[in-house]
């Protein structure tokens, strides 16, 4: 493993940060009253990206020892990493500005936020392209990988935002039911994308087949089935579905409406769901890096 746990954590945090920014932008338009959720998304986004970038700097040893060299990162436009550096720079500037305005309780300039939205999407996509363009590793070298990373970025972004919001104020989570619906469909799409990717790519060549079998039946199968599929995807799908059914029932009865209005119902479901989605998001990146088998050249 040339790229290990540190890079997996970075890819996870970059996606999570971009997803949280997009979630807060959506919330600010759809639910102007859900201030806690919007604030949370806007504040955690630049903070998590900052942690991710610190991890990157620590991993790039030669740069860590000679920090001025990081300026060269902007020079090779043939490299996805250079493109990503631009995306992250613009995204971070916008995310910092938005977070600062939130803290100062000032209005956010909507054009800066639009720029932030564009580069948040760019950041999420780039993390997929970064490893997707590596022809040497067939497991990564598929067109579906960047899409999978974007879906996972949105899903972890929603999870991170709702988890922190729920801890801060447990009533707010029930204000944003449509986000929960979006979240549920993202998780279902993710399951579909993972299995599509594995099924198609394992037929392309030996190295790809080796990667896929190490994930589903080999060395990494325990982590794959338990941490990613069971905990990271199926568990949140089940709980989220039950929550949505419950929310519909509550809106149809007088007692339910009273409970909802009082905000006295539990948010245990939300806490479990969002935590497990975050576990799944990190596990996905970790497994894709760990199970990378290069093409045999002999």
């Amino acid at each position: 493993m040339v790229w290990g746990t540190i890079i997996a954590a970075y890819l996870f945090l970059a996606g999570l940060s971009a997803g949280a920014f997009l979630t807060s932008s959506y919330i600010s338009r759809k639910y102007p009253k859900a201030v806690t959720v919007r604030m949370t998304g806007r504040l955690i986004s630049p903070a998590l990206m900052g942690i991710g970038l610190l991890l990157l700097i620590v991993d790039a040893e030669a740069g860590l020892k000679n920090p001025l060299r990081f300026i060269y990162l902007f020079t090779n436009f043939n490299s996805v990493m250079t493109i990503g550096t631009y995306f992250i720079s613009f995204f971070m500037l916008a995310a910092f500005y938005v977070a600062l305005m939130e803290l100062l309780k000032k209005d956010v300039n909507k054009w800066v936020e639009y720029i932030g939205i564009v580069f948040a999407i760019g950041t999420a996509i780039y993390t997929g392209f970064l490893i997707g363009v590596i022809a040497t590793v067939p497991l990564w070298n598929t067109a579906i990988l960047p899409i999978l990373f974007v879906v996972s970025a949105l899903s972890t972004g929603i999870a991170g935002t709702l988890l922190v919001s729920g801890i801060v104020n447990k009533q707010v989570v029930h204000q944003v039911i449509s986000v929960k619906k979006i979240h549920l469909s993202l998780l279902a799409v993710e399951v579909f994308l993972i299995f599509t990717m594995f099924l198609i790519t394992s037929t392309s060549n030996e190295a790809a087949a080796e990667s896929v079998s190490s994930l589903i039946i080999g060395e990494y199968s325990m982590i794959f089935w338990i941490a990613l599929i069971a905990v990271g995807l199926l568990l949140p799908i089940v709980i989220e579905s039950l929550e949505l059914i419950n929310a519909r029932k509550m809106s149809q009865t007088v007692e339910g409406l009273q409970v909802a209005a009082a905000g006295s119902h539990s948010i245990a479901g939300t806490l479990v769901t969002e935590t497990s989605v975050l576990i799944g998001g990190f596990t996905l990146r970790y497994l894709l890096l760990a199970a990378a088998v290069p093409i045999a050249f002999l």
Binding site: R69, N76, T85
Partner: protein, 178 residues
Amino acid sequence: MARYGMMIDTRKCVGCYACRVSCQMQNELPVEVSFIKFHEIETGVFPNVKNEIIPVQCQHCEDAPCESVCPTKATYTTEDGIVLVDPEKCIGCKYCMVACPYQARTQDHLTGVVEKCRFCVDLVAEGKQPACVSTCISTARIFGDLDDPNSEISKAIVKYNAKPLREDLGKTKIYYVR
């Protein structure tokens, strides 16, 4: 301007590792780091089997994948076709190590800079042969200008029908006789 390349005759290679040691000395590498890696594979069907020893180092690809992914332009190709790393520009992100089809790159654990075979540019500039070539006990290695049809290497490649390790992974400048 030349286009430097190498031919390695694996039928002559006895696996003595002399090339690796001379490379480590020339490039002042620690014992555990080497630019040349030895692969041993069995080919054929019983009873007609053979054991092949294949020394692998940077293949100095044309349109090198390591060069195109390098975000800082630390990896570059000289006018003579040699792929090099500028240690003053490398940040150690290891993107090149991930992209290299031959896993020919290593990271210096003191500086964090990623390194690899340099075709001994300094020796070649003085008109000498790379260290691995001049030290090889069985003359399994030939170095020279691929663009000169009269060079020893060009003639040998034609004579022995030498080929890159995997032509489908892109053009390289190291040819193997197997």
